[in-house]
Point group: C2
Chain length 366, copies 2
């Protein structure tokens, strides 16, 4: 109750309602400070299913999870977010139908939908706001697309926020401050501070991809132009699309971040050298974030991170060299254990949280 | 009660105890969700006094405040923190006695003591941990020095955290995310995120003074050595002591940050040029912090900020140019309205918070 801010009687009423609706099960007795017996509740794993999508810059990952946030079936396809909301969300909806069919679940068992997108999202509404790379999405309210099709809450957040949330809930629930850095086609981060996602005033928090690359004069004509319209951004030097550009210029046949990863895995010297350099550049931005936030865990994910150890090695090297000793004394720097599932897993937790949220519960069970 | 996480009955018991001890007054009826009449409580302004100290790199600011956190009398003296805890805290204790005498208050009316120091402090204990510039303080538990002298809670925190807290509580209590940047002899920051101070895992959060200056190769032999032992830190180029170094090299007779400020105010060309450059450099670090945290208000304080508009002009220029449009759309960049009183005001609020804290209340009123 301390965590919810609700009085005992209000909470009991809500739990009763959730229980009657078949959402809850008791997970064991916990100690009580008031002398009355108390229990720990969780959503019943089989009380329904969640539909989840992680929309990246160049791919869409969809999944169906149980109410315990475990992914049961998932699907991944290449698709550019620049196709716009109608095409991309239309494809997500089609993939959702296929996942339901594969899992043998009817649509009326869907209890919640969670969507991650590669840009800032207004907290509360799920409206995309001034995204640097999501052509055609500015001002689009993502949940509206699904409202007619399913009778359940629909929530949206920035992809990196969901990845941070997923890793925090699954792997480090007891750490108060976690920084998740995504190095894929684009570069971004998600911040769990004090155990909760930090969105910032406009939902723009975590934007480390478009800070100017350290050691570079971003007003110089030599600074590479970024997808966001500025020049010399970290992403314009160390993002997957920047590596595609540089490897293409060096005569290699690459078109996507996956191609870059394949080239690195084949041991190509140019690709390995560029990825290592990207790791050091990214490490400089990450080190500054570590100095500012003093997290206890730094999780690195995204396609480039999982290519090989080169990227995270560069990040570790620079972070430990550049941040204050105190800030790195107990800092762990790890590869994202959830990998490509971090986004959809975080989306599941976002939705499960909402199902426990008083406002949602009131609306659903009234 | 939502804000405290306490049940209604527990809170009522605690309020009753505080009321019986004469700490509380009712500040007006508020609406109640439970149908019972409810009131807003605040600490009685005349229920006692608070003793506060803001220990900077080269000065000590002490103050006596009422229980409403308004400073009644204060005193400022030059003193280097590198004199060590015995000398500096001994002087603080002497200044406290003088403030009590000036205000005509006996020592047994002191309800709480709050101390700010220019380095990281472990949350909960008030122990100084690995401070870059506080020679002789590492591992020192600040509150212990005062425990014998006064029968009240003693709390300590990093000076920039208290400045951020003070500005937030007094001037922007409704803003959720506030970034306070101090540009004095040293450079640092304090973060109010989600309405509360963010300390980080080791109390090291907010360290923007020792991130490498943007656009500089900190491994180059030309990078200036910093007080923290590294090279090329932002503070080593834009801090007050760095300006003293550069102005001295240019033939000017300056020894302290106050001297630099005086030279700027006299219109000296070298001093103005260096301060403007410092503002732009600092602006680069600040812009990156704005991109990462997306605060809605950026408060700039410290001696250099108040010299003239040059510093904040440079910060504004670079922040609005370098941060994402979304992150700066509603961002206000302002000079610290509390000025030199920001630290002691924040210290007063830290102590007043503790007097309402269940753990403190339980210990004091049992």
């Amino acid at each position: 109750m301390a965590a919810t801010g609700l009085s005992r009687s209000t909470m009991a009423t809500r739990l009763e309602a959730l229980g009657e609706a078949g959402y809850l099960e008791v997970s064991g007795a916990a100690d009580s400070t008031g002398g009355r017996p108390a229990g720990s509740f969780r959503l019943r794993r089989d009380a329904g299913v969640l539909l989840l999508a992680d929309i990246g810059g160049s791919h869409v990952h969809t999944a169906l999870a149980d109410m315990g946030c475990d992914v049961l079936v998932s699907h991944r396809r290449d698709l550019s977010v620049a196709e716009g909301p109608d095409v991309v969300l239309g494809q997500v909806a089609a993939d959702f139908r296929r996942l339901l069919k594969d899992a043998g679940e009817p649509a009326d068992r869907v209890r919640g939908i969670g969507i991650g997108v590669p840009g800032p999202v207004e907290a509360g509404t799920g409206r995309v706001v001034s995204p640097p790379i999501m052509t055609g999405w500015d001002g689009y309210t993502v949940p509206d697309f699904f409202r007619g099709g399913y009778d359940c809450p629909v929530l949206a957040d920035k992809d990196t926020n969901l990845m941070a949330l997923g890793e925090h809930r699954v792997n480090w629930p007891d750490r108060r401050h976690l920084l998740f850095v995504k190095a894929g086609t684009g570069i971004g981060s998600g911040l769990v501070l004090g155990g909760a996602l930090h969105h910032g005033s406009q939902g723009a928090a975590g934007d480390i991809g478009h800070i100017p690359a350290p050691g570079l004069d971003e007003t110089s004509p030599d600074a590479p132009v970024c997808r966001c319209g500025n020049s010399g951004c970290l992403e314009a030097l160390a993002g997957g699309w920047a590596l595609v550009r540089d490897l293409t210029a060096a005569g290699h046949d690459v078109a996507t971040t996956d191609d870059v990863v394949a080239l690195v895995r084949s041991g190509n010297g140019d690709a390995v050298r560029l990825l290592r350099q990207a790791g050091r550049l990214l490490g400089q931005g990450v080190a500054d974030a570590v100095s500012l936030l003093n997290p206890s865990i730094l999780v690195v994910g995204g396609g480039l991170a999982h290519a090989q150890e080169h990227l995270i090695a560069g990040i570790r090297e620079v972070t430990y060299r550049r941040s204050l000793p105190l800030a790195t004394r107990d800092l762990r720097v790890v590869l994202s254990p959830l990998g490509t599932r971090a986004g959809v897993t975080g989306a599941a937790h976002m939705v499960a949280d909402a199902l426990f949220d008083p406002a949602t519960v009131d609306a659903r069970l009234r």
